[in-house]
Amino acid sequence: MTYPMRSWTKSSVRKRTPAIRESGCRKMSVQVKLFGKLQRGLGEKKLQIEARAAGELLEKLWTRCGERAEGAGATLEDEEEMENLTGELRKSIEGNSSELTVLINGRNLTFLDGPQTKLEEGDRVAIFPPTGGG
């Protein structure tokens, strides 16, 4: 079938070799921008998170989601939606295909080193729920 179903494009995905980055041990403080439903879910548009790599950053975000889901300040309309969000974050942490788009300096994590992608001071991290339009 030539229709670009997920199975078709997966087999033809080509990734650019990510730029080699310094793998320092120091934790970097990175500003994370959240968009769409994630703003509602976490109650914030921007967060400051310390992490060495993308996976660690997402793990901390996952924990924060869990805390909000249990806390009185949860802003998502229902638990199911929060569960979906944490589930998608978990997929990204484990390097699996996720509905979330995680961008480091405008590049999708999928096309960098996945959760192992190192972070540097001043990196621009943006996370989106599924987007569409045109």
Binding site: S12, V13, N105, T110, P130, G132
Partner: protein
């Protein structure tokens, strides 16, 4: 009820019904407009001369209650590109024409402006041409309101505005939304001036008393409809409370800006932190605070409901502010204020202008020194020049390439004379391959590679990878099928991810047309539409050298990604090679 072709001859002022030739029986929407144009319009004719024709066709399932199926295709030889054109809109008029049994409406002949403008009024079993001169030179909001008052709320309209009367090659065809605003557009390619140059200013249709649509296989249709509706409901992008429903198409501003592909100030940069001020999130917040209504639907059949009504207090209502319009009249002109963008969008709707082409035209005018980037008031004044028909206005109404030449600007973001939409192909290369190779001129909807490259819909592909011929080809074929079916292209977000949805879509087409298409057949069907369109363009004088992006995109790198458009010509030629 057998569907018919309604042929309107503007030389003789006649409208007559014709039987549908057997060879057209399985066609609808884009497949039908492009086939009729290819067969009846000489490819080398002048787009505004006596031999061009305007063809309108509802999609195959349009007129039924299939979800999000209220699309109407409009075709002809484009005054903007000089090639074949299909542009489609979601509007109540689409379903009404479908239920009235109009498989295609062909407008031919040409009247001189001095002999007056007409309105074609279509009702069950009747079509007549009525004088419409009183609306000449007046804005479309006023005209649509007046016509709705005269013909009643059950009548839907389309029409060309002042831009079309000026023979502007950037004049769209305006359609009404369910409340009668001229806010839905078959905007691209100058089809407004094609219709108005025939002497036809408006089309009006009322389907009261029309019989039900006949189905070849109602059971297959119903099964398919349910599968498709379920897929649209279940998908995060198209479902209730999903991205499109919550934020509209403008949800894309932030993500495209973040990846560095949102053109700023005439394609001179790919990202600006100011863009968050015109994002879908910001617009939804302002609407919630009282600046309009959301969600809203463009046509009664729509279940995605990505539309809205932008109506700040004390201002006249606009209708929807789409992502493309917000970008073109906003970021691409350095304007980051939704209120100003709303006013510019309303002026475009009122004058009958395509917002994408007008935004990119204003941007080259700004680069050419007619106004400063970011000056929304000056941009509005430029639009008023169109209304007044001044020499500057007459330049602006003819599109980006024409204006760039007039104002001495070399950064001209066009392909085949049509300006690029809201994705810079240096940062998202697959969409650049579509811009270059589609028969339509730069058109994102013709093969929306952004879905796969940025959103991960239908798979994942690195936006910076230049090998995109296969992706663009597959998307262009499937899109040509969807554009023919009558479904909104946004159904693709769901059906590319949910196989049952795509099966359901094809089943509904079979249920109406009596075909036995498989999903693979549907893709082949789309390929045939493209073949006819490319053959028309070749006969009109297009060659491989027209399937290219402008030189500056290979020479000037785009910040912040620092990329040029590096897709080799051989890769572009592979799309249809």
């Amino acid at each position: 009820m057998d569907r018919k072709i309604l042929r309107v001859n503007m030389d003789q002022l006649t409208a007559r019904l014709e039987e549908v030739p057997e060879k057209y029986s399985n066609l609808g929407g884009r497949a039908l407009t492009s086939t009729i144009v290819a067969e009846e319009v000489p490819p080398d004719c002048h787009p505004l001369g006596p031999n061009n024709k305007l063809v309108l066709a509802p999609g195959i399932v349009t007129g039924t209650m299939a979800p999000s199926s209220g699309r109407l295709s409009v075709g002809g030889k484009s005054p903007l590109t000089g090639g074949i054109k299909e542009s489609n809109a979601g509007t109540p008029l689409a379903g009404k024409l479908g239920r009235l049994g109009i498989k295609a409406l062909i407008v031919e002949g040409k009247r001189e402006k001095e002999s007056g403008y007409y309105l074609l009024h279509i009702t069950e079993g009747n079509a007549e041409l009525l004088p419409a001169d009183e609306w000449s030179g007046r804005g479309l909001y006023e005209a649509f309101k007046g016509l709705r008052g005269e013909f009643g709320e059950e009548t839907s309209f389309c029409g060309g505005g002042i831009a079309a009367e000026l023979a502007g090659s950037n004049s769209g065809l305006a359609f009404d939304d369910p409340e009668g605003r001229p806010s839905r557009y078959a905007g691209r390619g100058g089809l407004g001036s094609l219709m108005v140059s025939r002497g036809l200013k408006f089309i009006a249709a009322n389907d009261e008393g029309a019989p039900d649509i006949e189905y070849a296989d109602k059971q297959a249709f119903d099964e398919g409809r349910k599968k498709l509706a379920q897929a649209l409901h279940d998908h995060e992008v198209t479902g209730p409370g999903g991205t499109l429903n919550s934020y509209g198409t403008d949800a894309l501003v932030n993500v495209i800006n973040e990846i560095g592909g949102l053109p700023q100030r005439n394609f001179s940069q790919g990202r600006d932190d100011e863009a968050v001020k015109i994002s879908g999130e910001q617009k939804a917040k302002e609407i919630e605070e009282g600046k309009g209504i959301r969600p809203h639907k463009c046509s009664p059949e729509c279940i995605i409901q990505c539309s809205e009504v932008w109506e700040p207090e004390g201002k006249d209502p606009v209708g929807v502010l789409e992502y493309e319009s917000v970008w073109a009249l906003g970021a691409n002109c350095g304007i980051y204020d939704l209120d100003q963008i709303g006013e510019l969008n309303r002026a475009c709707n009122d004058l009958g202008l395509d917002t994408i082409e007008m935004g990119t035209t204003i941007a080259v005018a700004m680069e050419g020194g007619l106004a400063d980037f970011g000056d929304g008031k000056a941009a509005l004044e430029l639009l008023e020049e169109v209304r007044e028909g001044t020499p500057t206005g007459r330049i602006l109404v003819n599109g980006t390439e024409f204006a760039a030449q007039a104002f001495g600007v070399n950064r001209v973001p066009t392909v085949k004379g049509q300006s690029m939409p809201a994705y810079d192909p240096r940062a998202i290369k697959g969409i650049g391959v579509t811009y270059a190779t589609t028969p339509m001129g730069a058109d994102h909807t013709a093969g929306y590679a952004v879905a796969t490259e940025v959103m991960g819909v239908g798979g994942e592909a690195d936006p910076l990878d230049p090998e995109k011929a296969e992706l663009s080809r597959a998307l262009q074929k499937s899109t040509a099928f969807i554009d023919s079916s009558g479904y909104c292209l946004f159904t693709a977000f769901a059906v590319m991810d949910i196989a049952e949805g795509m099966e359901g879509m094809v089943q509904t087409v079979n249920g109406v047309a009596g075909t036995d298409f498989t999903v693979e057949d549907a893709v082949h069907f789309g390929g045939e539409v493209l073949r006819k369109e490319r053959e028309f363009n070749q006969a009109a004088g297009f060659s491989k050298s027209d399937d290219r992006l402008p030189e500056f995109m290979r020479e000037e790198s785009l910040d912040p990604q620092g990329e040029v458009f590096d897709v080799p010509d051989e890769e572009l030629d592979k799309v249809f090679g």
